[in-house]
Each structure stands twice: as structure tokens, then as C-alpha cells.
């Protein structure tokens, strides 16, 4: 199953091959699918409203450079990205927003998972709804994705489990009472009911690693960004529907 899934990911571009990848949306209950699909009920509404407020705030607001948020349609599909220049490196979307805040708005960076950061991440990601994930390539991103794939298939933690064992080999089966999803990254940031709040992919990864009793890497560490680089490619081509809702 795992080998088959990886092969299919690699061949996703070939029209003749059936795509066996399924979004976590499709394996949720219909009640949660409705919560995600109905903007008037979506639990991240408040965050999106905050995001819109923040977008236009301040002397050097996001709007002053970017215009309306709608202008950023497609931007969120191209992460993680490699940024050149000083202070460059691999960034995910929240990391990119932080960089803008520090370098262009001359404001101090927010703490990880800060409410305004998630609000802006949700707003920008939402503009790419319906578009396929299209992570970019570069030698640095390729190396990170290779490292990420290695981490993904390595047994980790005191429970000695690899991501692949659950999310490739046993997707569709149950762990406790919960259905194991394939673990695609198409809907981030997600409002996870478990968190009672919006959260980033890094938060989710740290949660999983803590769950297998592994050492949890620091925010924005090379390991987490390597995971993100690999996972984006694993889900490449799948349509995004952020912000998501998950149990």
C-alpha cells in the first residue's frame, strides 16, 4: 500500500493513473464537512474577520503593498518556499508573513501560533481555495523534501512509530475510535476541534510527534520545515480548501 501510494504521488501528473489520494475532508463525518463548507457556520469565521481587519491596519498595512487580499490568489499554493538573500531559507506561509511583518512593517515577530498570525495565515490561504497545491522546486527544497521523506518513513519516539505506518499503510483503519486519515496538507491552517482553535501544520506535526513520545522539534526548525517540504509534495495537485475543520 505504501509503495503504491508513493508511486501514485510521483506519477500524479499522468492522467492515466488513478489518484488514490483522499483529503481528510472526504473521510470526516458529514456534520464536520458541513461546518467546513458553510462559511456562515465555519468555526474560523472569527479568525478570518480578524485577518481582514489586520490586513488594512497600520501605517504600512498589508494592503498598502498587496492591495486587496484577493490579489494573493494562488500565493498559498506555493509553500514551503525558498527565499534568497540575507535571513533567507525555507519558509512556510506563516513564516513568510512573519518575515513581511519584521522586514517590511518593522514590527516585532509574533510568537508561534499567535492569534493575529493565524488570522492572517487563514485569510491568505483562503484566497487560494479550490486551487491545487503547487509547491515550488529548488535544490534546497529538494534536499529538504528528501530529508522530510526520510523522517516520514523512520520509526520515531518511544512508541516507535513512523508517519508512514499510520498514514500510508493504515489510512482508512481506526486508531482507538478515530479514523486514520491519509494526512494530506490541503486545508491548512485548520480549526481543529481538539484544539478549540485554528492551528498551523507545524502545530499538528508537533502534536503527532508528541503523540508518539518523540522529542518535539522547535518551531520553525529544519526538521519541521523538511516535513512540510515533503508533505506539500506528497499532496501536490490536490485542491486546497483552507481554512479547514478537523476533529
Amino acid at each position: 500500500m505504501r509503495a503504491l501510494l508513493l508511486l501514485l504521488v510521483a506519477l500524479a501528473a499522468r492522467a492515466a493513473e488513478p489518484d488514490l489520494r483522499r483529503s481528510g475532508r472526504d473521510t470526516m463525518s458529514s456534520a464536520l464537512r458541513t461546518l467546513q463548507a458553510d462559511d456562515a457556520q465555519h468555526p474560523a469565521q472569527l479568525a478570518l474577520a480578524l485577518g481582514r481587519e489586520l490586513w488594512g491596519q497600520g501605517g504600512k498595512s498589508c494592503a498598502s503593498c498587496h492591495g486587496e487580499p484577493e490579489k494573493l490568489r494562488g500565493a498559498a499554493t506555493r509553500y514551503p518556499a525558498w527565499l534568497n538573500g540575507e535571513g533567507g531559507g525555507i519558509v512556510d506561509l506563516p513564516g513568510r508573513i512573519q518575515r513581511c511583518r519584521v522586514r517590511h512593517q518593522q514590527q516585532p515577530a509574533w510568537a508561534p501560533e499567535a492569534e493575529p498570525l493565524l488570522a492572517l495565515t487563514a485569510l491568505v490561504a483562503q484566497q487560494s481555495r479550490g486551487l491545487p497545491l503547487a509547491p515550488p522546486r529548488s535544490p534546497e527544497l529538494d534536499a529538504a523534501a528528501r530529508q522530510g521523506q526520510q523522517l516520514y518513513t523512520t520509526r520515531l519516539g518511544a512508541l516507535n512509530l513512523s508517519c508512514a505506518q499510520c498514514h500510508d499503510e493504515r489510512a482508512g483503519l481506526r486508531l482507538g475510535g478515530s479514523l486514520i486519515p491519509q494526512g494530506h496538507v490541503d486545508d491548512y491552517p485548520v480549526y481543529r476541534l481538539e484544539w478549540q482553535s485554528l492551528g498551523s501544520l507545524q502545530r499538528r506535526l508537533r502534536g503527532c510527534l508528541s503523540g508518539v513520545r518523540a522529542q518535539v522539534p522547535a518551531w520553525d526548525s529544519a526538521e519541521l520545515l523538511a516535513f512540510e517540504a515533503y508533505l506539500a509534495r506528497r499532496s501536490a495537485g490536490m485542491p486546497m480548501q483552507p481554512p479547514g475543520v478537523r476533529p
Binding site: M28, S29, S30, A31, L32, T34, L35, Q41, P43, L175, G176, G177, S178, L179, L193, E194, W195, Q196, R206, G207, C208, S210, G211, V212, V216, P247
Partner: protein, 136 residues
Amino acid sequence: MKRREFIVSAAVFAALPEAQAEEAAMRDAIRTWAGRDPEAGTLKIDIAELVENGNAVPVRVTASEPVVGLALFTPLNPEPGVIQVSLGAAAAKPEFSTRMRLARSQRIVAVARAADGRCWQTGVDVIVTLAACVEP
């Protein structure tokens, strides 16, 4: 989302002493709100039969005739009260929706109160599964 009633399981459950204490607390809370012990009656409770996470469970309660009050109660949450709604003259339907927390699988109870003082209640069983991995 379907409404189901498991009268048999409720009767079996009520026999256990802890369950009796919790059921009694819920009955007291219902009696306080309704003013009396409601009769069994028809109320529609729209809620998923199987809930993946009890932190935010969408639920809708609808009565089949005009009412002045609707309320939800749970026997097995830490407290029995969930929400108690008053409907004014401009309310167009005897209905409301919300998102509630469910600590564990249980039979939630909805109660209606009409303008003439009549009260009736109904219940529905919900199974709650929780996240398998505990997170920080």
C-alpha cells in the same frame, strides 16, 4: 443526521447507582427550568449519531408547534445544563441551533415549554469518540 431513541439502553443504564445520581441531577435541572416534570413528547433533535470530537458538536432542536422555551440537558457532562432558550413573538420557528460540548457518549435530552405551561421532552443517544493521541 438522524434522530434515534434507545429506550432499552436508557432503562438498563438507569439501574446503575452512579447513573441514577447523575440522572437525578439532570431531572432536577429540567424541573427547575420547566417548572414541572415534562411528559414524553415529540421534539426533533438533529445531531450526529457518531461524533469524532466532543468539543464542538452541532445540534439543532425543533418543536412541531409554537413554544416559548426550548432547552438542552445532558446526564453525563460535569453539569446537566447546556442551553436554555426563550423565544419571543418575532421568533418565526420553534427552533434553534448551537454547538455543544459532549464529555462522553450519553443520551442528551431536549425539553420544550409552551405558552400554556405544557412541557414535554425527548432524548437521543450520541456516541462520542475522542482523539486517540493526547496532545500538549
